[in-house]
């Protein structure tokens, strides 16, 4: 399923206009993204939590050619599924 299907499903199920469902889904996703971009954690009970990890840059090597490459610092988000989601998937 993708985002537009998710919007359509939400609209059908809750008898919303597709535009309203789109506002809800987009604001939901944007609020999570904005928090992670500012370095905050996100915790959604019953679903899971996200946090961003910082990685320092380093000088690595291309294993094929042996040449030095600069790997820049990066930030990556991590998702930890909540207990309810894990149980639901395995039930």
């Amino acid at each position: 399923m993708n985002k537009s299907e998710l919007i359509k499903k939400l609209a059908e199920k809750k008898e919303l206009h597709v535009d309203e469902a789109a506002v809800i889904v987009n604001a939901f996703v944007d609020s999570i993204k904005d928090s992670l971009v500012s370095g905050d954690r996100v915790e959604i009970r019953g679903f899971g939590s996200f946090k961003v990890k910082d990685y320092q840059g380093y000088t690595g090597r291309n294993p094929k050619t042996g040449s030095l490459v600069d790997v820049p610092a990066k930030r990556l988000p991590f998702f930890r599924p909540g207990k309810e989601l894990k149980d639901y998937l395995n039930k």
Partner: protein, 102 residues
């Protein structure tokens, strides 16, 4: 910079507030819609093994086979049952948004 900088946490209530700013609906209705949305997301991850949210990333469920494990405390061998796990892979767009900020 530590991984959780200022230590703030976004919760479901904060998400409801953010949606409330954008739509003419009361908080209780929005809360109910968010719960339904989360149920739809969970259902999709389980049923399709895949939920793609453009500009954000995708949730993928995959099967882990049974394997032998060991309780490190008692070192007794145990069999870990096969189970489904879910991972989040971020989209290229979100990845660059996270890293442009630095």
């Amino acid at each position: 910079m530590s991984s959780n900088g200022n230590g703030k946490t976004l919760t479901k209530a904060d998400i409801v507030d953010r949606i409330y700013e954008k739509i003419d609906m009361n908080r209780a209705e929005i809360k109910a819609h968010v719960e339904t949305l989360l149920d739809l997301m969970k259902h999709s991850i389980k049923k399709d093994h895949n939920l793609l949210i453009s500009g954000f990333g995708k949730f993928e469920a995959y099967d882990k086979k049974a394997r032998k494990g060991r309780n490190p405390q008692t070192s007794e061998t145990i069999t870990l049952t096969p189970r489904k796990v879910v991972v989040f892979r971020l989209s290229r767009k979100f990845r660059s948004e996270l890293n442009d900020q630095q």
